[in-house]
C-alpha cells in the first residue's frame, strides 16, 4: 500500500496540472488587478512606516507642537485605512476566483458524471465520486482564495520594501537579502522532510488511524465473541503509537520552524544592532531612517512567512485539484475514447453538432442523422403504434483499452419479439442490454431503431417508448404516487397530470394495491432515499407499476436472481406476459419459465454471442447452454 502511494506521489509531483492552468487562464484580468493592488499595498505599507517614523521623529526628536502634527496623523490614519481596504480587496478577488473555479470544477464533474456513470461503474464507488465533487472541490478552494493572493503579494511587496531599505541604508538591505532566502528554504525543508517521513511511516499511520473505525464497525462481532475489552486496549495502544509516530514527524517540522524563527529573530536583531552602531558609533544615520527601517523589517519577514504558510496550503489544494483532474480523466477516458473512435469513420461533414458530444452526452451519433434532425422527422413514437424494429449493426463496446470487450455481431429484433439473454455472470448480458437501451455508446458499429441511428436528438423520443426494469429499481424521494407517475414523465402532455385512477390502475396491475391499501396514507406515503421501508419485491412491483402506466413498446428487463417473495414472483411472471403482448421484450433471464417463453434465446460467453435459438435448439446444439441449465437444477434437485 505504501509502495503504491509512493508511486503515485512520484508520478504526480512530476506532472504539471493542466486543469489548474486552464482554470487560472480565465482569470488573467483578475490576477492582473491583484498585482496592481499588491503594488498599492506595498506603497501603503511603506507609506505607513514612513509616516509613523516621521511622526515619532517630529514629536520625540524635534519636539514639534501637537497642532503641527494633525496633518501627519490624519494622513497616517488614512494610509492605514487604505492598506486595510486594499488587502481586503485582494482577498475579495481571491474569493471570487475561488467561487468561479469551484463552480466550474463542480459543474465539470457533474456533467462528466451525468454524461454516463455506467461507463465508470466498474471503476469506483458512488461515495468516492460524490466525495470528489464535494470534499476535493472544497479543498481546492485554498489555492484560489489563499495561495494565489498571498503569492502575488509576496512577489511584489517584499521586493518594494527591500528596494526602499536598500535606498535608505544598503547594509540593512544586504542583511535582509541574505537572510530572506532561508525562509522559503526552511519552509520547503519542512515540507519535504515531513512528507518523506510521513511516507516512510505511512503504513504505520494508516494502520493506527484505521483501527478505530475498524473496531467501531466490527463492534457487534467483537461483542458476540467476547473480545470488546481486548479491543479497547488495542485502540489505546494504537492511538498512543499513532501519537508517537505523528509526533516524530511533527518534531522535524517544529525543529525547522524553530530554525526559521531564529533566523527571522536574528535578522531583526542584527539589523537593530547594525542600526544602533550606525547611530551611535559612526553617527552616520538619522533616527528617522533607523526607526523606519526597524518598522519595515518585521513587515518584510512577516510577508515571507505568510507566503510560506500559504504555500503549504496551496500544495494541499493542488493535490486535491490533481485528484479532480484524475477523476475527470477517468470519467471521460473510456467514454471519450469510445466516442472518438465511433466518430472517426464518419466525420465527413463538419457540422456545428459535431462539437456537441463534448458538452456532456457521450452518446455518439452519425452527423448525417443529426443534420436531418428530429424537427424535420416524424417522431419515433408517432410513426406507428407497433413496437419498433431494433437492429444491431456490429456494435462493439469496450470499457477501456485491455478491458472487457463486447462484440456480438449484427442482429435484428423484430417488432414484438421476446428475447431472453442468458449467460454466466460477467459474460456481458448487462452491457448488451445497456447498449440496446442507448445507455452506453458503442465504440464502433451502431444500434438502429426503425432504421434510424440513436442520436441525442432522438434519445427523448426513444426513451418515451421504453421501460427498463433493473434488478434494483431506483425509488426516488417522494410519495408512492409520484414514484409510479414518473413512468409517464415526457409521455403525456406536460399540462395533463396523470390521474390518480390511472396510477391506482397501474398499481393494481403490478400487485401493489393491497400493500398501498394497508398504508395509513395510501398513495401519499413517502418513500425514498433508495426506497427505505420497501422490500426488494415491492420495489420490483413499483417498477412494474411504472411500466403498466407507461405501456412501453420496448421493455428491457433485468430479471432478479433470487430473494423475491412469492407474490412478487407471480406478479412478475404475469405482468411481463401481459406487457409483452404489445411490446418487444428483451430480458436478462434467470428463470426457466422466461427462457422457455422467449421467441429467441441469446446465449453469451465472454462478451460474444455464441448461440441464438429456441430453448430446445440450444439444449441440443450448445453444450455450454445445456450444462448451465443442468447445473442450475443440480443443486436443487439432488
Amino acid at each position: 500500500m505504501a509502495k503504491r502511494k509512493k508511486k503515485t506521489t512520484e508520478r504526480r509531483s512530476g506532472r504539471k496540472i493542466a486543469l489548474l492552468t486552464e482554470l487560472m487562464a480565465v482569470h488573467k484580468r483578475r490576477t492582473g488587478l491583484m498585482r496592481l493592488i499588491a503594488l498599492g499595498l506595498g506603497a501603503a505599507t511603506i507609506g505607513q512606516a514612513v509616516l509613523m517614523a516621521e511622526a515619532v521623529q517630529r514629536i520625540f526628536v524635534e519636539r514639534a507642537a501637537l497642532a503641527s502634527m494633525i496633518a501627519v496623523f490624519a494622513v497616517l490614519l488614512s494610509v492605514m485605512a487604505v492598506r486595510t481596504l486594499l488587502s481586503y480587496a485582494n482577498g475579495r478577488i481571491g474569493l471570487r476566483i475561488a467561487a468561479d473555479a469551484k463552480r466550474d470544477l463542480r459543474s465539470r464533474l457533474l456533467r462528466s458524471l451525468a454524461a454516463n456513470p455506467l461507463l465508470t461503474a466498474r471503476q469506483g464507488q458512488t461515495g468516492g465520486k460524490v466525495s470528489v465533487a464535494l470534499d476535493a472541490v472544497d479543498e481546492a478552494d485554498g489555492y484560489f482564495s489563499q495561495y494565489t493572493p498571498k503569492m502575488i503579494e509576496a512577489s511584489v511587496v517584499p521586493l518594494l520594501i527591500l528596494a526602499v531599505v536598500f535606498y535608505l541604508h544598503a547594509p540593512s538591505g544586504l542583511i535582509l537579502l541574505f537572510t530572506a532566502p532561508f525562509i522559503p528554504l526552511f519552509m520547503a525543508l519542512v515540507g519535504i522532510q515531513t512528507r518523506d517521513k510521513s511516507e516512510e511511516k505511512f503504513d504505520e499511520l494508516a494502520r493506527f488511524s484505521g483501527t478505530f473505525l475498524d473496531s467501531l464497525q466490527g463492534l457487534v462481532t467483537l461483542k458476540l465473541f467476547g473480545r470488546a475489552k481486548q479491543q479497547e486496549q488495542k485502540i489505546e495502544r494504537g492511538s498512543l503509537s499513532y501519537r508517537d509516530a505523528t509526533m516524530a514527524i511533527l518534531k522535524v517540522a517544529f525543529v525547522n520552524t524553530f530554525a526559521l524563527e531564529t533566523i527571522v529573530m536574528l535578522g531583526i536583531g542584527i539589523v537593530a544592532l547594525e542600526l544602533a552602531l550606525q547611530l551611535v558609533v559612526f553617527k552616520t544615520m538619522a533616527f528617522h531612517t533607523a526607526f523606519l527601517i526597524l518598522l519595515l523589517v518585521p513587515e518584510f519577514y512577516n510577508l515571507l512567512k505568510n507566503a510560506g504558510t500559504a504555500f503549504h496550503g496551496g500544495r494541499t489544494s493542488m493535490g486535491a485539484i490533481r485528484n479532480i483532474e484524475t477523476a475527470l480523466a477517468e470519467n471521460a477516458g473510456s467514454g471519450v475514447a469510445a466516442s472518438a473512435e465511433a466518430a472517426e469513420p464518419r466525420t465527413d461533414a463538419a457540422s456545428p453538432a459535431a462539437a456537441k458530444p463534448k458538452l456532456g452526452s457521450v452518446i455518439p451519433f452519425s452527423v448525417k442523422a443529426a443534420q436531418l434532425g428530429s424537427q424535420h422527422q416524424p417522431t419515433l413514437a408517432s410513426r406507428s403504434e407497433a413496437p419498433p424494429k431494433i437492429e444491431l449493426l456490429d456494435p462493439v463496446f469496450r470499457y477501456g483499452p485491455d478491458r472487457f470487450e463486447l462484440r456480438v455481431g449484427s442482429l435484428s429484433i423484430a417488432p414484438g419479439e421476446q428475447i431472453a439473454l442468458v449467460g454466466r455472470s460477467g459474460s456481458g448480458k448487462t452491457t448488451l442490454l445497456h447498449l440496446i437501451a442507448g445507455l452506453l455508446p458503442p465504440s464502433s458499429g451502431e444500434v438502429r431503431v426503425d432504421g434510424e441511428s440513436l442520436t441525442p436528438e432522438r434519445e427523448a423520443d426513444w426513451f418515451r417508448q421504453v421501460s427498463y426494469i433493473t434488478q434494483h429499481p431506483h425509488i426516488f424521494s417522494g410519495t408512492i404516487a409520484e414514484n409510479i407517475a414518473i413512468g409517464m414523465v415526457g409521455v403525456v402532455d406536460a399540462e395533463r397530470e396523470v390521474s390518480r385512477e390511472e396510477i391506482a390502475q397501474a398499481a393494481q396491475s403490478a400487485g401493489l394495491a393491497g400493500l398501498i391499501g394497508e398504508l395509513p396514507r395510501g398513495y401519499d406515503t413517502i418513500v425514498g432515499e433508495g426506497g427505505r421501508g420497501l422490500s426488494g419485491g415491492e420495489k420490483q412491483r413499483l417498477a412494474l407499476a411504472r411500466a403498466f402506466l407507461k405501456r412501453p413498446k420496448v421493455l428491457l428487463f433485468d430479471e432478479p436472481t433470487t430473494g423475491l417473495d412469492l407474490h412478487t414472483e407471480r406478479v412478475l411472471m404475469r405482468s411481463i406476459d401481459e406487457l409483452s403482448r404489445t411490446a418487444t421484450v428483451i430480458t436478462i433471464a434467470h428463470r426457466l419459465h422466461t427462457i422457455r417463453h422467449a421467441d429467441r434465446i441469446w446465449f453469451m460467453e465472454q462478451g460474444r454471442l455464441i448461440g441464438s435459438g429456441s430453448h430446445e435448439e440450444l439444449l441440443n446444439n450448445l453444450p455450454q447452454y445445456a450444462e448451465m441449465i443442468d447445473i442450475g437444477r443440480q443443486g436443487v434437485v439432488s
Binding site: M80, L110, P117, A133, S145, D214, Q217, G490, M628, G635
Partner: protein
Amino acid sequence: MSELSIFTKAMLRERKDILLSILGGFFAGIAGVVLFSTSGYLIAKTVFAPPLYTLIILTSLVKILGLARAGSRYGERLFSHRATFSLLSRLRTSFFAKLVPMPPGALNRQRSGDLLARIVGDIEGLQFYFLRVAYPPIIVVSVFLATVLFASFFSVWIALLLVVGMLITAFVVPAIAMIGQRKTDGLVRRQRAAFSADATEMLQGFIDLKVYGKLDGHRENLLTLSDELTAAQQQDAKRLLRGQSLHAFVTFFVSWGVLVLGAYLIVSGSLAGVFLAMLIMASMTVFDESAAMATLPTYKKDSRFAARRLAETFEDEQPTDEPDGMLDVSAPVSVELKNVSLRYEEAWRPVLSDVSLRIPAGAKTAIVGASGSGKTSILELLLKLQTPTLGQLRLNGIPVDELNAEDLWRKSRVVLQQGHFFKGTLRDNLLLEDDSRSDEELLNVLHQVDLPGRKLEDPVLEKGENLSDGEKQRLAIARTLLKSGRLWLLDEPTSSLDYVTERRVMQLLLERAEGDTLIWVSHRLAGLEQMDLIVVMDHGEIVEAGSYDHLMARKGYFYEMKELERQTVGEEDRGEAKRRLG
C-alpha cells in the same frame, strides 16, 4: 458548553502537557512583545548618544529574547500537539468503552457505516478544539495583560487604550464579522448534505432517471445546488475576511492611537519621548500575537458541532443495567417466541408482526423467506441485539430480557450476515477465546471449512477486503466452529458458496451441532430436507411451518418457492462447481 464536557474531562488528565504548552506560548508571546519594544527603545535611546555598553547589553538582550521566543514556541508546539494526540487517544478509548454497553442493534441497523466513519471524523475534528479554541485565548489574554501592566508603568492612559483596543478586537470585531451569521448558520452544512444526497441519487438512479427523461432536470438541479453551495461558502469566507481585515485595522488604529496619545502626553510632559517608539512597537506586536483569535469562532463552531453529534450518539441509547440471568447449557436450549413484534420508530410498518414460534431443545430449524421478510431480525432479537416492540422471547423458558447478554453471547455460536473482519492476520480474525488451541487444530478447522492452503499468518485487510465473499463466509464459519456454545444461530452462512461446498459445510455444521439447538436462516432452499423444522416467512409474518416433507406435501408457499428455485438458472460462477461435479 456542556457538549464539550467529555473533552474537558479528558483535558484535565493531560494537564501537565497543557500547562507546559500554555507556559511556552506565554513566554513566546511576552518575548515577542519585549523583543520589539526593546528594539524600539534601543533605537530611541541612540538619539541621546548613550555609552556603548548599554547598547551592547540591549542588543544582546534582543538576541537572547529572539532565541528564547523561538525556543518557547518550539516547546509550545511540541507540548500542545502531544497533548492533542493524547487527548485524541483518550477520547477514542473512552468513546469505544462507552459504545460497548450500548444496545448494538441500534448501532448495527439504523446507523450506517457512513455514520461510524463520521464518528471517527468527529473525534478527529475535536483535536482542533484544544489546539485552536481552548488554549489560545488563555495565552493571548495573559500576554496582553502582561503588556498592559508593562505599559501602565509608563502611562496609564496608553494602558487603558490597549485595554479598549483589546475589548474591541475580542467583542466588537467578531460581532461585526458575524453579522448575518445566524441566518446562514449551518446552511453550508445542510447544502452539502443536500448536494451529496442528490448526487448519490443521480449516480445510483441513473438508468431510471435517464429512461424516464429526468436526468437533465436532475443534473440542472444539482448544478443549481452546487451554485448555491458555492455562494453560501463564499458568504462564510467573506465574513471571515471581513473579520480579519477589521482585526488588522483595529491593530493599526490602536498603534495610531498610541502614537497620537503618546504625542499628546509627551507634549504635555507626562511621558518621556524615548518611550514612544517602544510603546508603539509593543502595541503592534501584542495585537499581532492575538491574530489566532480571528479564526477561533470558526473552529469553535465546528468543534461544538462535532461534540454535539457525538453526544447525540449516546442520547437516545441509555445503557441498561444488564440482568444477571445465566443460560443453562448443560442441555440443549429451547427457543420460544410469543407474539413478537418489532417496529422501528421511523418505519411505516413493522419488521415483524405477531410472530409466535416454538423450537424444541436440540432441534435443527431453518427460517426461509425473501429478503426483507424478517428472518434476520428473529436472530437479532434472540441475541439481544434488538429489543422487541411487543411480545416476549424465551430461551429455556427464561425471558431473554432477564438473561445477561455477555453470558448469552459466550454460550452462542453465531454467524452474522455482515460479520466483520478486522485488519490483521487470519489468526486474529478467528477471534479465539484463549490460547488453548494448537496451530494444527486451527489449520485443521480451516481445512474443514474448505480453506486449505491458507496460513494462519496470512494478512487480512480492513473489512476483509482481500477476501472473497465465499472466503469470508468460510472464515466466519471457522471461527464459529472454534468457539464454544450450544445455541447455533447462523444467518445465511453459505449464501456465497457454490451448492457443493454449501452442502458439505452444512453437513459439517449439522454434525458439529449434534445435540445442540441450531437455527439456520437462508433464502436458498437446498439441503433443507435434513432440518427438523422449516419456518417460512413473508413480510414479517410466518406463513408456514413444518418439516420438509410436510411442507412439500402441503403444496403451499414453501412448495412454490421450491418450484421456483428449480426453475432458476444460476447466476453465480459455476466454474468451481463444475470442477467439483467433474
